[in-house]
């Protein structure tokens, strides 16, 4: 089975029913996406496939049809993506376990909406839970990331 992960074509030997997260972490060695709940209810495993967020813990790898982007593929030539940079600038993470998924959802949001409102952010991020309750900082970071992204464009 061939997958495109963070711009690289890889070959894996996986049962089509295996969750994509298992294939990424255990077979491809891409451990950025995290296991949280295993039923698409927390968002820690979020990756982006052809621009759309996907909970990789629940998507059978045999149903993957597009290029996968994980948290490990956002930086380009060592330069952090604006969302990653904003996450650092705003000191979002507390324990940090959810942030790989949070950042991927924020990345997907900003790919569709350049300058999201609070409502846009709430609508996009409602499926990414943070047990530390860093939601105000997540919101601030997304707004800062929007500014950084527009400045780089």
């Amino acid at each position: 089975m061939r997958l495109t992960v963070d711009g690289k074509d890889i070959e894996i030997n996986a049962d089509p029913d295996m969750p994509l997260l298992w294939a990424l972490r255990d077979l491809a060695g891409v451990t950025g996406p995290k296991f949280g709940c295993g039923i698409a209810a927390c968002g820690a495993c979020t990756v982006v496939i052809d621009g759309m967020t996907v909970r990789s813990c629940s998507l059978p790898v045999g149903q993957v049809t597009g290029a996968i982007t994980t948290i490990e593929g956002l930086a380009v030539d060592g330069k952090l993506h604006p969302v990653q940079q904003a996450w650092l600038d705003e000191q979002v993470a507390q324990c940090g376990y959810c942030q790989a998924g949070q950042i991927m959802s924020a990345y997907a949001l900003l790919e569709e909406i350049d300058d999201p409102t609070d409502e846009d952010i709430d609508n996009a991020m409602g499926g990414n839970l943070c047990r530390c309750g860093t939601y105000p900082r997540i919101r601030s970071a997304i707004k800062k990331a929007a500014t950084l992204k527009l400045a780089r464009a």
């Binding site: 039923i39 909970r55 059978p60 997907a108 609508n123 991020m125 499926g127």
Partner: protein, 201 residues
Amino acid sequence: MSVHRTLLTILAMSLAGAFGAAAQETPAAPPVVVDAARGLPEWDKVYAVFTHPRCASCHVEDNRPRWSGAHYGGTRVHGFNVQGGSDGSGFGNPGLRCNTCHFESNSSVLHGPPGVVGWHLAPPEMVWWEKSSAEICAQIKDPARNGGRTLAEIAVHVRDDELVGWGWAPGPGREPAPGSAEATYEALTRWSESGAPCPSG
């Protein structure tokens, strides 16, 4: 130009006369007589399906799908701030689409996300959630609120559409809709043949 118009007029009059004669010789199809005694029991079967949570939970008018089942302690609004989408598509919002969690098949894990091809919310004008039998019956018969379908097309849609069919194969831990897609198709057909009567009130 005027010669052409005259010729066309003569041709049209000739054709109209010919078809008029043919129409007089061929009796028109008799109008469907509404047979409420036969039709209403069939509609009741359809109503039981349409208002079952597997169907009605995504036929809402407030853009927010519902969850229901014993483990939810009653029906509730779908978690995670999930919505049909600000663009009116029914497929979710940027960053959180229905297909973020709902894939081409049901999760095999209890409480995992159900799935089938094309998972999305019905348009709000097709609301069934908490609507009466009379209200849903009127909606189904109204092309402006049923996707521009004839009753025969609705029956086929119910029988053949994959997303509709999911209601009878909803995955582990969920009660399926009553009957089957085929039985609902047959009930809709018999109801239509009975003049599609709607309950009062």
